[in-house]
């Protein structure tokens, strides 16, 4: 049990810290959200916390552990605070399936949705080839989830119970379905029509308390101009 609050180094707009926030919420682990400015991340003192100069990073005063990379932060939280296995399987094939999906999120969803976001928000001018490449990859990834859920007939990626692997996909969905609508304002409708099973899964997860709270907190942080 965490008697002291953990510190989550975070950012308002960027989706990845909120992924960790969802898990912290779901496990009822107390934490402070330290909203960081991008400008301070690629130098000391933050670089000593995360040599890659990004958020999230997590500090746990109860154990003295510091961890960075959202996937690693989440694994650490599951090991330390999910003792009743609310969000993950302890062993067996299930445990490794969950890991496969979780790693697919960190290596296959995040970076590619992120590239689309880059070319929409930050490239000096519109670059059709790049926008299309990453827009298509967003569709492919959602298609993979849709096909998998159709085939398995289950409510969630690894069975009938939501696991951390499902929750990890959520924050990037917010960038699709709300401002800045990185795949276009019409994409929500396209997703619902073309990938209905994945759409239902997404809605199921959006309705969970831990997810709702993180989304609200992020909204508040963004409106404060962070």
């Amino acid at each position: 049990m965490a008697t002291r609050s953990l510190k989550l180094y975070s950012h308002a707009g960027g989706p990845n810290p909120w992924k960790v926030a969802i898990i912290l919420n779901a496990l009822s682990v107390p934490y402070e959200n330290e909203l960081m400015d991008f400008a301070v991340l690629k130098k000391e003192p933050f670089e000593s916390i995360n040599p890659n100069g990004r958020v999230p990073a997590l500090e746990d005063p109860n154990t003295g552990v510091t961890v960075w990379e959202s996937g690693a932060c989440i694994d650490y939280l599951l090991e330390t605070y999910d003792t009743s296995n609310k969000l993950h399987a302890k062993s067996g094939a299930q445990r490794w399936q969950e890991k496969s999906w979780a790693h697919f999120q960190t290596s296959g969803q995040g970076p590619y949705f992120g590239q689309r976001a880059w070319f929409v928000l930050y490239a000096p001018e519109p670059m059709e080839y790049c926008l299309k490449r990453y827009g298509d990859e967003i569709r492919r990834v959602i298609g993979v989830i849709d096909a998998h859920l159709k085939k398995s007939g289950k409510q969630f990626l690894c069975g009938d119970k939501a696991t951390y692997a499902d929750l990890m996909f959520m924050p990037w969905h917010w960038l699709l379905l709300t401002k800045p609508f990185i795949n276009g304002e019409g994409f929500g409708k396209e997703w619902e029509e073309k990938y209905p099973v994945a759409w239902a899964w997404q809605e199921r997860l959006e309705g969970m308390e831990a997810v709702k709270r993180a989304k609200e907190d992020r909204g508040k942080a963004m409106s404060k101009g962070h």
């Binding site: 890659n52 996937g71 960190t106 290596s107 080839y129």
Partner: protein, 257 residues
């Protein structure tokens, strides 16, 4: 050594991510069957393979060593599984829940969400995309260099602290192997490793390991570095690889119209 059929099957092709797992299996001294997927024919998107990896990519493994077959995809998940199951003495891994374990996990995740995808994009825009988009080539080569810089700084710091030239802890581990699998392809992305002194030395040391030399030649002899020595070799290698990449992209696009 038992002469029975190996219970682990590796689904792979000659790419950094495939090599990452064949090298890991070699380092652990495990017997395994190799099933080569022909990416130029988009075999990895066939129904039978999607049952093993719904994402339709390599690597993937099936381990039938116990009653319940374990099907796994995503290189990092596979590496973690293999070490949890077959490296009880932690020859190339760290005890679960130790400080090095969490540190190692951060670096593994960093590699698979950073160097892998970003260097992969550099490859795409530098070698495969039908038109040269300088902005994109620069973006991804620069990010690859930034990531190499982070790794180089880490290695130098480790060495200075007396831990040796390894990313985590004081020994060679799957963390080094994982990062190596992509750094070993740097020239393909148009990025040099020589400007990163510690990284270059670390790279050369790992290249000498027998398990690495064996692992990179799975499923076929690793010819990229040879091909890069001449202009013709480079062009031919690029043309062949460009073909299957663009064909695969076209099929995905058509599927998701």
């Amino acid at each position: 050594m038992s002469s029975e059929e190996p219970r682990i099957t590796l689904y792979t092709a000659g790419t950094p991510n495939g090599q990452k797992i064949s090298c890991t299996l070699e380092e652990l001294g495990l017997k395994y069957k190799v099933h080569k997927l022909d990416i130029s024919k988009n075999e990895q998107k066939e129904e039978w393979f999607l049952k093993i990896n719904p994402n339709g990519r390599i690597p993937a493994i099936v381990d039938k060593s116990t009653g319940n077959p374990i099907l796994l995809f995503e290189g990092t998940a596979i590496q973690l599984y293999l070490c949890a199951t077959y490296d009880p003495e932690h020859k190339i891994s760290f005890p679960y829940n130790s400080a090095e374990y969490w540190d190692g996990l951060a670096w593994l995740t960093w590699m698979q969400s950073g160097i892998g995808p970003m260097q992969g994009q550099a490859n795409h825009f530098y070698r495969y995309a039908p038109t040269k988009i300088d902005y994109a080539v620069n973006r991804y080569q620069t990010e690859t260099r930034r990531l190499y810089g982070v790794l180089d700084a880490r290695l130098a710091e480790q060495e200075k602290a007396g831990k040796g030239l390894w990313v985590v802890g004081d020994k060679y581990s799957i963390v080094d192997l994982c990062c190596f699998s992509w750094v070993n392809w740097a020239e393909w992305a148009g990025v040099e490793t020589k400007p990163f002194a510690a990284l270059q030395r670390w790279l050369e040391v790992i290249q000498q390991r027998p398990a690495i030399q064996k692992g990179v030649d799975v499923p076929d002899k690793f010819e990229m570095k040879e091909a890069m020595k001449t202009k013709e070799g480079e062009e031919e290698y690029a043309k062949y690889h460009s073909n299957w990449v663009m064909q695969g992209m076209k099929e995905d696009r058509d599927k998701h119209k």
